[in-house]
């Protein structure tokens, strides 16, 4: 069965600090996708990134970067120079390749609540 673990329940940092959110996943599939979502206080989940299992290149988008390591089954998310607007709950998610039971096999982690203090 698939599983996503986000061991950090809550993190607080001061503005401009760097912060890394951890995500560890379990799957028996060789083809899968990993995702990060942001849920600000307004409640809407915002899609941030998708990686597939064949692409271990790190990704950078502005202040956001993602480190995917298959060897440790991790897909960590780093925010550089954090800002108050980064305060949100962040979810890591995993899905199998498209096919049967796709909907059942989209698994979210429990989320990490990030508070960035001014």
């Amino acid at each position: 069965a698939q599983k996503v673990t986000q061991a950090q329940t809550e993190i607080s940092v001061v503005e401009k600090e760097d912060v890394t959110l951890d995500c560890v996943y379990e799957t028996r599939d060789t083809t899968y996708y990993l995702f990060w979502y942001k849920q600000p206080p307004s409640g809407e989940l915002v899609f941030l990134i998708r990686r597939n299992s064949f692409d271990e290149q790190n990704e950078i988008s502005g202040r956001y970067s993602w480190n995917f390591q298959k060897s440790t089954s991790s897909f960590n998310f780093t925010i550089t120079a954090s800002q108050v607007v980064d305060s949100a709950v962040y979810f890591c998610a995993l899905s199998e390749a498209p096919g049967d039971n796709y909907g059942q096999n989209f698994v979210f982690g429990p989320g990490t609540r990030l508070s960035v203090l001014p």
Binding site: Y33, F35, Y37, S42, G43, E44, L45, V46, F47, R50, F91, S95, P98, N101, Y102, G103, Q104, F106, F108, G109, P110, G111
Partner: protein
């Protein structure tokens, strides 16, 4: 940009009422989902649909039903609302891959 809309941001209903939550997406996605989100329990899948008139139960379908008569619209129905269905309801749509979420409906059943 993908747009997923939900009929209400906030809804208050009485126990025993039949409740309809509507979700519409504008990107011709095959897949649509309904989740509920509760503190400490994360996101839990209620139902999903992979095509018009096709549906599959998720992890917690009891007390709910769904309807997908048109590709862009996926409705969640609470046949007889109960207080334990007070929750945040999130709709999502997806091609195969990432899911795109609506703003959510916070339902209170009194």
């Amino acid at each position: 940009d993908v747009k997923v809309t939900q009929s209400s941001r906030y809804l208050v209903k009485r126990t025993g009422e039949k409740v309809f939550l509507e979700c519409v997406q504008d990107m011709d996605h095959e897949n649509m989902f309904w989740y509920r989100q509760d503190p400490g329990l994360g996101l839990r899948l209620i139902y999903f649909s992979y095509d018009v008139k096709m549906k599959e139960k998720g992890d917690i379908p009891e007390g709910y039903s769904v309807s997908r008569e048109k590709k862009e619209r996926f409705s969640l129905i609470l046949e007889s609302a109960s207080t334990n269905q007070t929750s945040m309801y999130l709709c999502a749509s997806s091609p195969w891959g990432e899911q795109y979420f609506g703003p959510g409906t916070r339902l209170t059943v009194t």
